[in-house]
């Protein structure tokens, strides 16, 4: 869990957030201007309608004057049509702006995430980061399309309507103000109740759904261990609080809806009463009609106001989270030197490294030195925790901050351009990564220069070609998330093919230890032999055949190189390698 979820985030002011967001909204400035210009016009048209109605009733219908009534009626119709057009302009402008903002934000988030160091991801659950790119971005887009701008509009409507009412009859308007306190009170009570139960509902449904998902996924285990009844009881218990919150929140929801609606009727009564008072002598039928209409216009935004405030709050939380993600700076530093044609000579000299700051004794690597000449195969062996994986991580620039010297083609690794290092060195890890895309994309990773022929010849090199031809869609076959429709061994072959298609100078190979069926195992063994023959390879080896084929074996022990040499030399010399070797035979 990141710190931001454990302690309540300090909410930065809306203005700061807005300033940060503005650069992304800026290209659509004209759209925001269009909506901001159309909003007051729209409000004005809206307010003109009840007034025209009043004019029609008082100045024409009541006094029996037909001449000019049609003109007023047509004016009314004109406000209707113009209002429709303006509403469309307003709605579309905000929608387009909102959608574009969504796209830009999402792209910025992925781009930024992809630039962060892999270590940064170790402590962040992917699911949580995904929320930044999906629901948080959506919440923001929603705000732009229907939140901020319509809130502005609602506020305009409320104030403009009040102004119009005050202008028509200020005493009557003030009289209607009497209704405001009870209404606001009821709305506030409902809002609090809704908010309280809304949280209960959200937590309740998410508990219900995750329990459901998990039990259905593990249904075989439930059945094999006769836990069906216990699960059903638990599920019922989880559902109860959710059902209760929904039922309670319904009461508030219904009351709020009914109160806003009913208070309009009470307002009618108040107006009629006012008309009979000494102040109301001049109150005409038209004025009453206009006021009825205005009161309706006044209450509708009030009904939706709390919902919109909630949208705004959600958006500002989302924005805050998104920006704190975009502010992360844990990048692997890139050097400036280019490495156009690497030959693949690698040299480690007294390399020391620790994942966490601490005393030198706690270092994972305590002065590692070895050299790999172009075309060579170097095998690193040693027990878990000896530092062999760390060596490969430093070379592939997955981690930065080593001491000592690591050179590629004689140039210090940290001085080289990051993308050039990654162009020259590629690793095949045990953690096989298959993307939910086609086979073609999984092997070529979207590189447009890699034609189908090139992809297939890379696949052929590592014995993956028959596998691809055997798939119904061939290269177009869609693969499932994490290689769901492949066996572990098959997925491994695809990642070999990916590496060969990428054609790096140096390959870092971490041999898998997963149990793989004998047929695929033979294919993989064959593929590894081909890679060893083709490339400069640093391999974390588990297979005897691989170790024997190495030009140099580096035996590591507790962060240091304890022995170096070929298989025969090391066996002859005795010591740790020979021990490991013998232990292997006897077990």
């Amino acid at each position: 869990m990141s710190a931001s979820t454990t302690k309540p985030p300090a909410s930065p002011s809306g203005l700061t957030l807005f300033k940060k967001l503005w650069p992304m909204a800026r290209p659509d400035g004209h759209l925001y201007v269009a909506s901001l210009v159309s909003a007051p016009l729209l409000v004005a048209l809206n307010l003109a309608q009840p007034y025209l109605l009043k004019v029609a009733i008082d100045d024409y219908i009541t006094v029996g004057k037909l001449d000019g009534l049609q003109t007023v009626a047509l004016q009314y119709l004109a406000t209707v049509i113009l209002g429709f057009v303006l509403n469309a302009v307003f709605g579309l402008a905000t929608a387009v702006a909102g959608q574009r903002l969504i796209r830009r934000l999402r792209e910025a988030i992925l781009k930024h995430l992809l630039s962060l160091s892999p270590a940064w991801f170790d402590t962040r659950p992917a699911g949580e980061l995904l929320t930044r790119g999906t629901s948080d971005v959506e919440a923001l887009g929603e705000t732009v399309s229907s939140g901020v701008v319509t809130i502005v509009m609602d506020v305009l409507i409320v104030f403009a309507t009040l102004a119009a009412m005050l202008w028509l009859d200020w005493r009557l308007t003030l009289c209607l103000f009497l209704l405001a306190p009870p209404l606001v009170g009821v709305i506030e009570i409902c809002r609090r109740g809704l908010r309280k139960h809304f949280n209960g509902m959200r937590e309740g449904i998410s508990a219900v759904n995750s329990y459901l998902a998990e039990r259905v996924s593990g249904v075989e285990i439930l059945q094999l261990f006769s836990a069906e009844d216990a699960s059903s009881r638990r599920f019922r218990a989880l559902n109860r609080p959710y059902a209760e919150s929904t039922i309670r929140s319904n009461v508030y929801d219904a009351l709020m809806y009914a109160a806003v609606d009913g208070v309009g009727s009470v307002a009618f009564a108040l107006m009629l009463w006012y008309a009979t008072s000494s102040f109301g002598v001049g109150v005409s039928a038209g004025l009453l009609v206009a006021f009825i209409e205005y009161v309706n216009r006044l209450f509708t935004p009030l009904k939706e106001f709390s919902g919109k405030i909630a949208i705004l709050q959600r958006a500002s939380t989302a924005l805050d989270k998104i920006f704190s993600l975009l502010d992360e700076t844990d990048h692997i530093p890139s050097g400036a030197l280019a490495l156009p044609k690497p030959t693949g000579s690698v040299r480690f000299e007294d390399v020391r490294f620790s994942y966490k700051p601490g005393p030198p004794e706690a270092d994972i690597l305590k002065g590692v030195s070895f050299e790999v000449k172009p075309g060579q195969v170097v095998a690193i062996v040693g027990a878990t925790g000896c530092g062999k994986t760390t060596v490969t991580r430093l070379l592939s620039r997955t981690y930065a901050g080593y001491r000592g010297s690591i050179t590629l083609d004689g140039v210090e690794l940290s001085a080289l351009r990051l993308s050039d290092v990654r162009r020259a060195v590629a690793s095949v890890s045990q953690d096989v990564q298959i993307f939910p895309e086609t086979v073609r994309f999984n092997i070529g990773l979207g590189d447009p220069k890699l034609t189908d022929e090139k992809l297939m010849s890379a696949a052929e090199l590592v014995c993956a070609d028959t596998l691809i031809r055997g798939l119904p869609g061939g290269l177009d076959e869609p693969l499932k998330e994490r290689g769901g429709n492949l066996s572990v061994g098959e997925a491994q072959l695809f990642t070999f093919a990916r590496t060969m298609a990428y054609d790096p100078t140096v390959v870092i190979l971490d041999e898998a230890t997963a149990s793989i069926d004998p047929v695929t195992e033979r294919l993989i063994q064959h593929a590894i032999e081909r890679i060893l023959a083709e490339k400069t390879v640093i391999v974390i080896a588990h297979r005897l055949s691989t170790i024997q084929a190495a030009d140099l074996i580096v035996v590591m022990h507790q962060g240091e190189v304890s022995q170096m040499g070929t298989h025969e030399e090391l066996l002859a010399r005795g010591g740790r390698y020979a021990e490991l070797h013998d232990a292997g035979f006897s077990s």
Partner: protein, 612 residues
């Protein structure tokens, strides 16, 4: 692992059967709520009509007679009506919506209780995602249909009937004229709503693809960076996002151009009221108060009519969803044992396979097991060896009845010499005597002890199971030992720890038959041998002379070497059956695998530690 599909789907019931069944079992239960709700709804509609009428009376009194007392009486009446309206409307909504929620609760818990009793053949054709969808969003649609939908039907009918009638009484021609634009717009708006929901489904799917891509990018960040593929992944995101936002924009068009047509139509009605009703009033055909009432009526029709469009959609979706839920709720569980199952033998002497054949329903022509005949003695450790696809897992599934074999192909012979067909015995009874540790350990996001006990934990048994599964050392390293919550699918634990926890779950219960499906793949050789030792102890006769049987599937022959007998499977048939020594002498497949693994083991001193 192959994913077999369901047996041929049972004939789909008609919509009416579904609806009738649903109404009887769920809706009618709440008829009192609905009846009371209807009563208050009628009250609401009646008041909503009376208020404008009283208003018209008041205005006319004010203008024509100048009878201020009459006006004040109207005002008081309206105020009362307004207050009563608030109460009555609140009650009508609560009375309609509450049974919807209660029904949702009942339906969801029933659905869950039923679904988890269904066989794997059912889950093969219904993915967890699909089931969750039906239990969440489909259920919401059904609830909306029952609560909101029914309320709207009555609301629209009552409001339109009462208001329309009142308007018609004032002026038939004006009623026709002012309702015409509203009705016209309704047709267009309905089309818009349908389009909107189609688009909204499409947008959901497109958003799903966007988020799938984001997730894959996050999980594959090392690969993407290592292969300089950031650009390609951003480009993919752009493509998918563009599709999604374009659909959203299409929705915005419907929302801003089509949906406002209804409120616009009501303002057009007001225009007609001035243009046509004005001259009528001047001619004395109707009063100014009546014009005011008309304006109010048109306004009060707006909300129910706007709801009408959604109501049609709510019912369409509700029916669809109901059918999808019905399919799960009435899915039939396979029950070859019939209503009166036999009891399994009290003491097992042997499990006999007689020409055991099996093919998954989705590929009936592809025999996974093609005739196994073997007598498996009880009280022994029986190894199963074979390559991927040789039928090992299928054999286990049949023994545990996760799949049902044909009758007569698997017999359980008791020590009394009586044989019972596996498919004739009570499934619950059989499962209580089994312990299974699957190949891929599945842990629930609960504490380790809950995962092991799968019910109320018993301390003594827990300790025993933890020791036997070699989980003790792991527990010491976890923050809360046995009480540690393991996270979704056991994410807090390492692969080896998950495997051992699942093993402890199997060893927790008393069993006659323990099935271990390739559980030794992720442990080092020392642990492996330790576990084999435990198994040997387990199969030693207990105080009552009971001897449990262990079936051990493994790729690793070092584990099988100490089994009493090993079945070697090859492409669904039995290649051989014998002790380790016998097989090394005479079984070519076994010999080849043995020498290959011996060579590998030699090179793997470190590998074993990596995996642990």
């Amino acid at each position: 692992m192959s994913s077999p599909a369901a047996p041929p789907p049972p004939p789909t019931p008609s919509v009416w059967t579904t609806l009738a069944r649903f109404t009887r079992r769920y809706v009618l239960r709440y008829w009192v709520w609905f009846a009371a709700g209807l009563l208050f709804l009628l009250g609401t509609s009646w008041l909503a009509v009376q208020i404008p009428l009283e208003l018209a009376r008041g205005i006319d009194a004010l203008r024509q007679t100048g009878d201020l007392d009459a006006v004040r009486r109207s005002a008081v009446t309206i105020a009362w009506m307004g207050v009563v309206l608030i109460v009555v409307r609140t009650l009508s909504r609560v009375l309609f919506f509450t049974p919807g929620r209660l029904l949702e609760y009942r339906l969801r818990t029933d659905l869950f209780a039923h679904v988890i009793t269904l066989q794997p053949s059912f889950f093969a054709s219904h993915s967890p995602g699909d089931i969750i969808n039906r239990a969440s969003s489909d259920l919401q649609f059904v609830r909306a249909m029952v609560g909101f939908g029914i309320l709207q039907v009555f609301n629209v009918v009552a409001t339109v009937a009462l208001t329309g009638q009142e308007m018609f009484r004032i002026s038939p021609s004006l009623t026709a004229l002012s309702l015409a634009p509203v009705l016209l717009s309704l047709i267009v708006v309905q089309a818009g709503i349908n389009r909107f929901f189609t688009l909204s489904n499409q947008a959901q799917q497109q958003l799903g693809r966007v988020s799938e891509h984001l997730l894959a990018s996050l999980q594959g960040v090392r690969t993407i960076q290592g292969f300089n593929a950031e650009g390609a992944f951003l480009e993919r995101l752009r493509e998918r996002d563009l599709l999604y936002t374009e659909t959203n924009l299409k929705m915005a068009w419907v929302r801003t151009i089509v949906m406002p047509l209804l409120p616009i139509a009501t303002t057009v009605s007001v225009y007609l009221l001035i243009a046509v009703g004005g001259p009528m009033a001047v001619a004395g055909q109707l009063s100014v108060g009546q014009i005011v009432a008309f304006v109010a009526y048109i306004g009060s029709l707006l909300f129910p009519l706007r709801g009408l469009g959604f109501m049609v959609t709510v019912f369409q979706r509700g029916f669809n969803s109901l059918e999808r839920i019905d399919e799960l709720l009435y899915a039939v569980a396979e029950q070859p044992e019939g209503p009166s199952p036999a009891a399994p033998p009290a003491r097992l002497a042997a499990i006999e396979l007689h020409d055991l054949k099996f093919a998954y329903p989705d590929a009936p022509e592809k025999a996974v097991l093609r005739g196994l005949t073997v007598n498996l003695p009880a009280g022994k450790i029986l190894g199963v060896y074979g390559a991927t696809g040789s039928g090992k897992s299928t054999l286990l599934r049949l023994l545990t009845r996760q799949r049902n074999p044909e009758p007569g192909q698997i017999l359980l012979r008791g020590e009394d010499g009586q044989a019972v067909d596996l498919t004739a015995i009570s499934l619950n009874e059989w499962r209580r005597r089994l312990a299974v540790v699957p190949q891929v350990p599945f842990l629930f996001s609960e504490s380790i002890e809950q995962n092991i006990a799968m019910g109320e934990p018993d301390p003594a048994r827990l300790t025993r199971a933890v020791r036997r599964a070699a989980l003790e050392a792991d527990l010491g390293a976890l923050p809360e030992g046995l009480k540690t919550t393991v996270g979704e699918r056991g994410i807090m634990l390492s692969g080896g720890q998950r495997q051992r926890a699942a093993l402890a779950r199997g060893l927790y219960r008393d069993f006659d038959l323990l099935v271990l499906d390739d559980v030794l793949s992720a442990v080092d050789q020392k642990t492996e041998q330790q576990l084999i030792q435990t198994l040997l102890e387990l199969t030693a006769p207990g105080p009552d002379g009971r001897r449990p049987t262990v079936i051990l599937v493994s790729h690793r022959l070092s584990a099988l070497a100490r089994a009493d007998k090993v079945i070697v499977l090859r492409e669904g048939g039995m290649a051989d059956f014998g002790s380790h020594e016998e097989l090394l002498r005479r079984c070519a497949v076994y010999q080849e695998a043995w020498s290959q693994q011996q060579e590998q083991a030699a090179a793997e001193p470190a590998a074993a530690e990596v995996a642990s």
